[in-house]
């Protein structure tokens, strides 16, 4: 074979020379390089791995972007898992998180990181005052009865906090609706005479009204009435029932 080849080569050269005009004899072409050994494979190339924005406040999202070449698997940690070589993913970390992208091929592993920083959110603005309850509802739910000792109309010290709470709630009511009227009702237990109790109930209503007015509740929105012992809450002849009935109660309107 060598012989044939050796013959062939000059033949081509002569042809070429003849074609070239037969000027000179062309230099022989360089021989092809000898076959090389297979080279060692390269690791994947992570072109980029970013988080935008890199700083968020709690509850906001950031977007991870990446591009990887020459990888057989690409994974991102923190629960994201396997991904395609090029991609993007929104994340909503609740705390500062460093994401690690791991690209793997036969040549090895390449990693890159991207950090999303979560800043402490500023305190929320105070919620606006919500008048979701009506004056009548506030009256029924927040303005509580005041109780008295037998044959007494003065407010005993243990009842003072209730009077103060009632004053606050009433002021709120009348600020919401300056035309709203509240009746301060005086009541007595069954034991005294009905005649004396009519006047005693009146003293109790008056006593509470005076206390409320001194705490800033507008007097013109308060009316007083005594029911004596005509409107008891309960009728048992017990200390417990009598104490319940010795009261001032607040009702809407006149």
């Amino acid at each position: 074979m060598r012989k044939r080849r050796a013959l062939l080569t000059p033949a081509i050269v002569l042809t070429l020379a003849a074609a070239a005009g037969c000027h000179k004899k062309a230099p022989p072409p360089p021989p092809p390089p000898p076959p090389q050994a297979a080279p060692a494979p390269a690791k994947p190339t992570i072109n980029y791995f970013t988080a935008e924005p890199s700083t968020i406040t709690s509850g906001e999202s950031a977007t991870l972007r990446w591009s990887v070449t020459n990888a057989t698997t690409v994974e991102i940690d923190n629960g994201i898992g396997q991904v395609s070589p090029d991609g993007r993913r929104a994340v909503t970390p609740t705390a500062t998180t460093e994401y690690t992208l791991t690209a793997t091929n036969a040549g090895g592993t390449s990693t890159a990181t991207a950090t999303v920083t979560v800043s402490i959110p500023p305190p929320p603005a105070a919620p606006p005052a919500q008048p979701s309850a009506t004056p009548a509802q506030i009256l029924a739910q927040q303005v509580h009865d005041i109780h008295f000792d037998y044959d007494k109309s003065d407010i005993r010290p243990s009842e003072e906090p209730i009077v103060q709470q009632d004053a606050a709630a009433l002021k709120q009511i009348f600020a919401m609706d300056p035309n709203f009227s509240v009746t301060v009702e005086g009541h007595c237990d069954e034991r005294g005479s009905a005649e004396y109790n009519l006047a005693l109930g009146d003293r109790r209503a008056e006593s509470v009204k005076n206390a409320l007015v001194s705490m800033g509740v507008p007097a013109s929105n308060l009316k007083t009435i005594s029911y004596g012992k005509e409107r008891p809450l309960c009728t048992e002849s017990t200390e417990e029932c009598w104490a319940r009935n010795r009261r001032v109660h607040f009702s809407a309107g006149q």
Partner: protein, 456 residues
Amino acid sequence: MRFFVTCFLTLIGFGWLAGKQQPQITGVITHPGKPLIAVTEFRASGGAASLMSAFNDTVMNDLQSSPLVNFVPRTLYPLQVPQTASQLIPGVAVPGTPINGLRLTDWSLPPVSAGYLGFGYGAEDRGMLVIFGWFYSTDPHIPTLQQAQVFGRVYTASLDQAGAIDAGHRYAADILAVFGGKSLVGTRIVFVSNRSGAKEIWVMNWDGTNQKQLTHYGSISTFPSASPDGHIVAFTTYAPGYPAIRMISIDTGRQLPFYNQRASMNAFVTFTPDSKHVIYSSTAGGGPAQLYMANIDGSNFHRITDSGAIEVEAKINPKTGTDLVDTSGRSGLPQIYHMNLEGTDVRRLSAGTGEAVNPSWSPDGDHIAFAWTKGFDPGNYNIFVMDVVSGELTQLTSNEGRNENPSWAPDGLHIVYSSKRGRDSQIWVMNADGSGKHPLTQIGYNEKPVWVNAEK
């Protein structure tokens, strides 16, 4: 029994044959020193016959329950009785003549020994019951029969049981009037009842009959009082939206004008004896209820008290018209105070212990009836009577419920009051000494009775 009594009396009466008309000993004595009255059983014929037992029982009961007289039992009476004045035989019988019942001496002497004799008969006349009733003094010193007659009257009534009873009341009242008794005939009692579904003012006759609703407000109406002339009922009602005073005519129920001061409470009206002015309680001054005086229509009001304590239930003295009693908190728990109509000369009448409330004057101004817990638990009320001058106390009720709101009858001999037993409250009447208690109402919750004079 009758034989024994007759023998006994004959022995006793032997020493009295001189003709004393009011011996000290007789068959029954309930009120020493009081006149002895005999009243026969009236009879009738025709349609009136069956009604006479109701008439006779009523007369006897009314006379027996009165402390003004002593009623001689009919078992002592002669078998024969006069039916008309013309049947009376004048003069004294010849000694030894048997008693025939037609001489006044047959009644003045033992065994009857009565100082007075009532007799008569009934009849039906044009569809009505007609009772002829006479009343004589048996005093033998009176020279003629004509002069011995105290009265002779005709009583007309409906021809039924109610009419017979009514005639009986009237005849007995006329007899008692001879001895100073003020009759209860025509008097009424106003009270509070809830039987219509709300507390309203009601009225009934003094004996509990004919109970009628006077107000129809459907609210709370209570604390009634009445004018001395018997025409007006005053009370307190929540009908206008707060406790206020209203006045109505007792006959028509028509509302009369009354000016209420601007106040959280106006209540507890009392009238002057001439029914022209009133005193009542009001919070118009801004503090505890105080007493105010005004004209009967509420005009020209002015304040009487300024105690700084609760003043309620003023009651003007019906005899003098110059002083009053009320319930006051000026010494702590309610007590009864006395003062003049200017609010001066104040003194406490009640003892100062427990709670004393609901004062009521006797018609003669000598006594106050009231309700008192007397050192018992609060709410344990009984009726007491106090002599206003001496302070002497008598307890009229005990161990029979919660007893309140006493009110004297115009005759000064009876007291109406309310008694609450458990959850039930009724109107009761008793004699002014506490005897003879009986209820007048049964239906509903009844309270706060006030005795009203017959209309003048």
